[in-house]
């Protein structure tokens, strides 16, 4: 695929703005390969250092609530049913029935065919998490492998949007990326972004899953992050959760550095979503610290940061109960989805 067609698409404005109107596979490659390298040891040490922050008492209480507000409560199983999705939505709306002060999560994240059930179950609670409502995110584009024709990926996306999905979590073609076909990956993201367009001209938010566990190097993660942003992604997301390793703190730190740099360059804020493998409050707090000390605390906002997680919520609720009651709680005192 050539990039000429990509140029015609509105969301490619970013790439044209940064690289120039003569956007080609070559100029894109030069740009991505000209990004500064990443020293893995240094990156991991910085992440480990951020992980030693000690968030206690009032800070911890605030952090726990912040985590909940940033969760994309997720179920992505072949065995998912409308019933399971309704249960998930119920949990999203009222995470801890014993404590009404508990905030709601940002979104529920489901497969495309489950979107109608999620929308229905949310009812009036469906909407922008910034307004205390809950969004519906749908994974699309032949998630998790992405191995389908572009036509199918776009149909998958358009379907989910038509059914009321507010956010689309797409996967990039890792095979193409690793083979160096950056233009192909770019064009697909642009096309999916276009498929996110609703009838009224607005767009569903596009989260671009890099599947960092398959990208092999941090340099690749940085390039893929830039590629996704240049192609119009609203969020860059680490993982599908189906590949190990999923989200790690160093990878997330690196992606936060990219969005920080993008903001420095353009003034525009891009979101980051680590997904998969974040199960404990303790880990999630490390991510919050990393967000606040890297991109800035304005990123601790559902429009700019999300946790893709399922079991994390219950651990946060247990911790929250401990802080509220002063006693350690147990798994029987939170609901399973």
């Amino acid at each position: 695929m050539t990039l000429e067609s990509a140029q015609a698409l509105a969301p490619a404005e970013r790439a044209v703005g940064l690289i120039g109107s003569d956007l080609t596979e070559k100029s894109l490659r030069l740009h991505l390969e000209g990004l500064p390298g990443v020293d893995a040891v240094g990156l991991e040490q910085r992440a480990a250092g951020l992980g030693t922050r000690s968030i206690k008492t009032t800070s911890k209480a605030r952090a726990l609530d912040t985590i909940i507000r940033l969760i994309d409560l997720t179920t992505l199983e072949g065995a998912d049913t409308p019933g399971k999705v309704r249960s998930l939505v119920a949990k999203a709306m009222n995470p801890d029935p014993s404590d009404p002060s508990t905030p709601r999560v940002a979104a529920v994240c489901v497969y495309g065919d489950m979107v109608p059930y999620a929308v229905e179950a949310l009812g009036a609670s469906h909407g922008d998490p910034a307004k205390g409502l809950i969004s519906v995110a749908a994974v699309a584009t032949a998630f998790p492998s992405g191995r389908a024709s572009l036509h199918v990926k776009l149909a998958d996306t358009a379907d989910a949007v038509a059914n009321g999905a507010d956010e689309i979590d797409m996967v990039i073609d890792r095979g193409a990326f690793l083979a160096g076909n950056y233009g192909l990956v770019f064009d697909q993201i642009v096309a999916v972004k276009d498929a996110c367009r609703r009838e009224d001209g607005s767009y569903a938010h596009l989260k671009v899953i890099l599947e960092t566990g398959e990208l092999n190097t941090y340099d690749n993660v940085r390039r893929a992050s830039w590629l996704a942003i240049l192609a119009g992604g609203d969020f860059i997301k680490t993982s599908t959760g189906k590949v190990a390793p999923a989200a790690t703190l160093p990878v997330t730190l690196l992606m936060l550095e990219v969005v920080r740099d993008w903001h420095r360059l353009t003034g525009e804020r891009i979101g980051v979503k680590p997904a998969g493998g974040i199960r404990s409050s303790k880990d999630a707090i490390k991510y919050l610290v990393t967000v606040a000390e890297t991109a800035g605390e304005e990123w601790l906002d559902p429009h700019l940061f999300r946790f893709g997680a399922s079991s994390l919520l219950n651990d946060v609720l247990l911790q929250r109960q401990k802080l509220t009651t002063g006693r350690y709680s147990g798994p029987d005192y939170v609901t399973i989805d």
């Binding site: 500064p36 390298g37 990443v38 020293d39 240094g42 990156l43 910085r46 030693t52 000690s54 911890k60």
Partner: protein
């Protein structure tokens, strides 16, 4: 119960205090000298050790007079002749292993004591200083019965009594760097910790008692410069090891000249941290921060001169400032503190004086935004940009959280500027291009070169300087040579 307040105006970054508890410490009101395995009274006028973060007194410390130095050296001599030299290497090693384990067991206590007395952040004493102390003893323990393999020829011999004087920046770690190889090689020791930071050494003396180390093998005497002077010049000392300022090191080199005492000196530095335009930029910024703001810049190998390639100069400095704004200055015992207290008023005055000179000489001063506590000794992280090579702050060791930024155009210019100092302790190189790093590393006249990292220490890795940064190496196989005399290396 904890009140859960979630006011939206509250900044996430206002981390609630997370102080490490001092209850783990069981300090005495006053400490004597550790001579011959016992705490004894000093005959000098005792002094107080204070916490630099609060200016509160921690304990009263004995002051060793020349007479006490005599007693300590005599105890070390006696232990050397009657016990330690007769012990097998394996048994010496076992004592060192014991010490390593006891340090691990009492790690938290030692870390708290260190931060209290020195002012360094608990995260550093906990995660860097004390673990390295244990590692140092563990490493050299294994050498004690393998000295034939140290590369000094067969059957190398201990020197006898080692006089050791250490600084206040890494009180316990410097003690470990000195004592562990000395004992492994079969020497006995009289060591003097710095006047402002004696506490952890005195707790370490308790560890030696718990380890049942034979009396007199290690003697710890506290005092000021005159005590150290008496110690290194004592006629019955065979070895002198000193870490500290180049001025004092020079004086020791003079006073021990012709004495036959083997001398190792680990002195000052003015390290260049060279950032090329192809550096991994985010890690380089972290490395610059770690290079000069680790331990408040109280590090002889600190990367105090940032040499940045001119085409990325502005970007690097801008990123650096952004990063420095996230540093937390304050209570050393708070687990989130990045920048602790300056160790003493005297040192603070020196940092202030040199910084003022830097400003007067025309460099652009920038100070990280942070609140300075009312009590104690503090200095906010500071950058001087557009510093000229002739500027005082580009030449003199400041030993504080002050970075001088200079630029260069070509690798040759970077090398020339990096080497343009009487010091030669350490240097940093940042580039993604391996061949360039190795070529630059070859040209730098410095004993330790960190490429794409900075301020890393390991007991297996030799450390020490070129030129006026001293001589001899500490750490690794090379570190043993400082405490042994070689029997035969000749042509056969």
């Amino acid at each position: 119960m904890t009140e859960i307040s979630t006011s939206p105006t509250h900044s996430f970054l206002d981390y609630a205090p997370a102080p490490e508890s001092k209850s783990i410490l069981h300090l005495k009101k006053s400490y004597g000298l550790f001579i011959g395995g016992e705490f004894v009274k000093g005959s000098g006028k005792p002094f107080l050790t204070v916490s630099p973060s609060t200016e509160e007194t921690i304990a009263e410390i004995a002051n060793a007079s020349a007479k006490d130095v005599d007693a300590a050296v005599a105890a070390a001599r006696k232990a050397y002749d009657s016990t330690w030299r007769k012990l097998s290497g394996a048994d010496r090693g076992k004592y060192l292993f014991r010490i390593a384990r006891l340090v691990q067991e009492r790690a938290r206590e030692l870390a708290v004591a260190e931060s209290l007395d020195n002012g360094k952040p608990i995260k550093e004493s906990r995660d860097v200083d004390v673990p390295l102390v244990a590692a140092w003893f563990f490493y050299y323990a294994g050498w004690a019965d393998k000295l034939d393999y140290a590369g000094l020829g067969p059957n190398p011999k201990a020197l006898g009594v080692a006089a050791q004087v250490i600084p206040w920046n890494f009180p316990l770690l410097m003690l470990a760097w000195k004592i562990a190889p000395a004992l492994a090689a079969g020497n006995t020791v009289v060591i003097k910790p710095a006047e402002t930071t004696p506490l952890s050494a005195l707790i370490f003396a308790e560890i030696l008692q718990q380890a049942d180390l034979p009396a007199g093998v290690v003697n710890i005497i506290t005092g000021a410069g005159d005590t150290g002077e008496a110690l290194v010049n004592h006629p019955d000392v065979n070895k002198v090891a000193f870490t500290g300022s180049t001025a004092v090191g020079r004086a020791i080199a003079k006073s021990t000249a012709g004495s036959g005492k083997k001398l190792t000196l680990e002195l000052g530095g003015k390290a260049a941290n060279i950032v090329f335009d192809d550096a991994p930029i985010d890690q380089a910024v972290e490395g610059i921060v770690n290079g000069i703001f680790f331990n408040q810049g109280h590090v002889c190998c600190a990367g105090s001169r940032l040499l940045v390639q001119e085409n990325v100069h502005e970007e690097v400095v801008e990123r650096l400032k952004t990063r420095l704004a996230t540093l937390r200055l304050g209570d050393p015992l708070d687990k989130n503190t990045d920048i602790g207290a300056i160790n003493s008023r005297e040192q603070l005055d020196r940092i202030r004086t040199l910084s003022d000179i830097g400003e007067k000489e025309g460099a652009e001063r920038w100070t990280a935004p942070c609140v300075i506590p009312d009590k104690g000794f503090w200095f906010a992280p500071t950058i001087f940009d557009n510093v000229s090579t002739s500027s005082t702050i580009a030449r003199e060791e400041i030993f504080g959280p002050v970075l001088s930024v200079l630029t260069f155009r070509t690798p040759a210019e970077a090398i020339a500027k990096a080497n343009n100092t009487p010091y030669g302790l350490s240097a940093g190189i940042w580039s993604d291009k391996g061949s360039k790093i190795l070529a630059v590393a070859d040209e730098l006249r410095a004993g330790v070169i960190w490429a794409n990292t900075f301020n890393r220490f390991d007991p297996a890795s030799p450390f020490g300087g070129y030129k006026e940064s001293g001589y001899g190496r500490e750490g690794g196989r090379h570190g043993l040579a400082a405490y042994l005399s070689s029997a035969g290396w000749g042509a056969k």
